[in-house]
């Protein structure tokens, strides 16, 4: 674990928490938890700076950075030119000068102009400099579909980055994780691509900061324990899988849901432990299934849990077609029925 600096209980500064009469967990939207994480990270370390398009004056198109420029000034919350390669390239230079930049890429489909800086520079400078440089850069990317958007605003590009050595990938699915994982990403001395499930931005969840938080960065979370099959999900599909698990319970099936949280590295111990107990697994993500994270997970589980498996590892995800226009996205996105169908197939095998 690298330098992680966690806030103490009571230092959490969510507006709703300030006025709360009792210290019971407050329920906040995921986007708000992210904003609180950014705010607390900036308050704790003057080297933390934000840069991105519309992050300052506007507070970000999803308002995740709302109020931060007012509080910390234009020097530390930088409204950038409309230049994604520039955002990541400048963040690299800032990190070389000792800052901890947090970049916002406005939408998933706009990360591609910055792809070169991420894969040829950011991910390699630590090794290229023989360990002398540390790229403490966090790149926040709202990702995934389901918000009825136009093209390039609903994509799931995580596999490109998971394939690249030298990067860490995190994605939260709850408000509590959103806060904690983001604090840890910013405190981490490695580059972190932080995928935010944008269609879950407005879903509320309890937000507390544990006294002695466990090292989460590489650890998956069992979101719902079960005994018959393991659903492996992350980000926006965790909720879908939890709903599927509830529906399956009515049919007498006990479904375990694992929330990966870290896509690079993957927490193989938790995954193999779960699958050896349940004997069945289905990976669920929004990204195109072809050569996606599901393929990697299925291959590895087959290698490591072959004699425990009762059925091939299933995959549910995007079809091999560009993410569709809004009126078709409900056909394309993995939903509760498609997950249950995959569960049925695993039991029929």
């Amino acid at each position: 674990m690298t330098t992680t600096r966690m806030p103490r209980p009571g230092t959490l500064l969510v507006p709703e928490a300030r006025s709360a009469a009792e210290p019971a967990p407050v329920s906040v939207p995921l986007a708000r938890a992210l904003g609180a994480g950014l705010r607390d990270a900036m308050a704790a370390d003057p080297k933390v700076v934000l840069l991105g398009e519309d992050v300052g004056r506007l507070g970000g198109v999803f308002r995740v950075t709302e109020g931060l420029q007012e509080e910390f000034g234009e020097a530390r919350v930088i409204d950038s030119p409309l230049s994604e390669s520039g955002i990541v390239g400048a963040a690299i230079g800032l990190a070389m000068r000792g800052y901890r930049p947090v970049c916002e890429i406005q939408f998933d489909g706009f990360v591609y102009p910055a792809f070169d800086q991420i894969v040829t520079q950011l991910s390699r400078l630590h090794q290229r400099s023989a360990g002398h440089l540390r790229m403490a850069v966090t790149i926040r990317i709202p990702y995934g579909g389901g918000i009825h958007a136009v093209e390039h605003h609903s994509e799931s590009p995580e596999a490109y980055f998971a394939h690249t050595p030298g990067l860490r990938l995190l994605t939260p699915s709850t408000s509590a994780d959103a806060y904690l994982l983001l604090r840890q990403a910013i405190a981490c001395d490695d580059p972190v691509i932080f995928f935010e499930p944008k269609r879950r931005y407005w879903e509320r969840g309890p937000l507390t900061v544990p006294e002695d938080p466990p090292p989460l960065m590489e650890r998956a979370r069992v979101a719902r324990p079960g005994t018959d099959i393991t659903l492996i999900a992350y980000g926006p599909t965790v909720r879908t899988c939890l709903d599927a698990a509830s529906a399956a319970a009515a049919d007498g099936r006990s479904v375990e849901v694992v929330d990966l949280r870290s896509l690079a590295p993957l927490d193989w111990a938790t995954l193999t432990g779960s699958v050896r107990r349940t004997g069945r697994a289905v990976v669920v993500h929004e990204a195109v299934v072809t050569a996606g994270l599901g393929a990697e997970i299925a291959a590895r589980l087959t290698e490591e849990c072959f004699y425990h498996l009762e059925a091939p590892v299933g995959r549910v995800g995007g079809y091999h077609a560009p993410y569709p226009p809004a009126r078709l996205e409900h056909e394309y996105l993995p939903d509760l029925d498609r997950v249950l169908d995959a569960v049925d197939r695993a039991f029929r095998y």
Binding site: G93, R97, D116, R128, E218
Partner: protein, 373 residues
């Protein structure tokens, strides 16, 4: 200014090819005789080291060499304008910059022998590692310059946190790119950012007329220095084979940057007197007449002519002997470089090695050891 690579406008010039001084309305020579003698020694050393490295590649001791022949004045004149506090971002041909900055010559060859992709500590000489993806370093330079601005704005708070007294020496960033890199998106984004934030950065473009086989005319219809005006900051073309002019123009641009007057683009008009790399055959595209023309403009000969009236043959002999000795040392040191351990490619992928990487490294070692009976 006339247009494209057919230009006979070499830009700001303070030393004629015959070694005589000339004047320019905007720029004064800042190098005295001692300064010029120092540049001569550094340029001569760079040429000898460069030749030694080419020879090592031809003998199979380097995987590649990237010759700088012809660009000694552009590199030495500019790097000697930088203060130790200034931070320098090279591209990949700036060996003379690196060596003059204090990086041991063999460190560059460590990279080109295939031992490392970089290796040196950027903080040791305020010199970043080489960047092979064209223009990628221009954005890093702007980011670093933004960091210098932030240091000044947040200074008291940062200093208090670090427990050090405030008041840093004003510094700027000097970043090198080539005529080919001027067509890259990153260079143009860097110009936008630098202008928008009035960043303390100097873009030093060595226009050596050829991007492998692509002539500078394919990169631009206007002189490259003229591009700066469209971004909103000054652009200056300087005779890249005139070390006095390069030093003067770069000093002026860095001084502007350090006092908050923003970025400058310098186009050093020069010529690559050799292949792009040792894998290239420039006779397929460089016209012989063009090479002859530029040979007559050789940057080291020019300084030799300028110093001839004030330095005797013994002094020139000493300079040559020192350069030859440096080249011989480089050869010895290069051949003595140990190969990296077989699993070195696992090192420093991340600051903290993941369980996954540890397991892969262990598996790799076990596999290798399975062959050792």
């Amino acid at each position: 200014m006339s247009s494209g690579d057919s230009s006979d406008d070499y830009g700001v010039r303070l030393l004629n090819p015959d070694g005589s001084a000339c004047e320019h309305v905007d720029f004064l020579a800042l190098l005295g005789v001692e300064g010029l003698k120092g540049c001569y020694g550094a340029m001569l050393r760079a040429r000898h080291l460069d030749e030694a490295a080419t020879a090592l590649q031809r003998q199979g001791e380097l995987v590649l060499w990237i010759p700088l022949r012809g660009q000694e004045a552009a590199q030495i004149g500019s790097v000697r304008a930088a203060s130790p506090a200034d931070f320098i971002f090279p591209s990949y041909r700036e060996h003379a910059v690196a060596w003059d900055r204090g990086l041991p010559a063999v460190e560059v060859l460590r990279l080109l022998r295939g031992i490392t992709h970089g290796g040196w500590d950027p903080a040791a000489h305020n010199l970043a590692n080489y960047a092979l993806v064209l223009a990628s370093q221009t954005l890093h330079a702007v980011g670093y310059a933004l960091g210098l601005q932030l240091d000044a704005q947040l200074g008291p708070r940062l200093d208090a946190q670090a427990g050090v007294p405030g008041g840093q020496e004003p510094a700027a960033v000097l970043v090198y790119l080539g005529d080919g890199a001027m067509s890259q998106g990153d260079a143009n984004e860097a110009f936008v950012w630098a202008a928008s934030f009035n960043a303390p950065v100097v873009f030093f473009c060595q226009n050596n007329q050829w991007a492998i086989s692509t002539p500078a005319a394919r990169q631009s219809r206007v002189p490259l220095a003229a591009r700066a005006a469209g971004f909103g900051f000054p652009g200056v073309r300087v005779d890249g084979n005139d070390v006095v002019a390069v030093h003067s123009v770069t000093s002026s641009a860095l001084a502007r940057a350090r006092v908050g007057e923003g970025p400058t683009l310098i186009e050093a008009y020069t010529y690559r007197m050799g292949p792009h790399t040792t894998s290239d055959d420039p006779t397929r595209y460089q016209p012989a007449g063009e090479v002859d023309h530029w040979r007559a403009l050789d940057p080291i000969d020019r300084v030799e002519r300028a110093l001839a009236p004030v330095c005797d043959a013994a002094w020139f002999g000493e300079q040559r002997a020192e350069a030859e000795a440096a080249a011989a040392r480089l050869r010895t040191e290069t051949l003595a470089l140990p190969d990296p351990p077989p699993d070195a490619f696992f090192d420093e992928v991340l600051v903290t090695e993941t369980e996954e990487a540890r397991a892969q490294r262990a598996s790799f070692r076990e596999y290798r050891e399975s062959f050792q009976v």
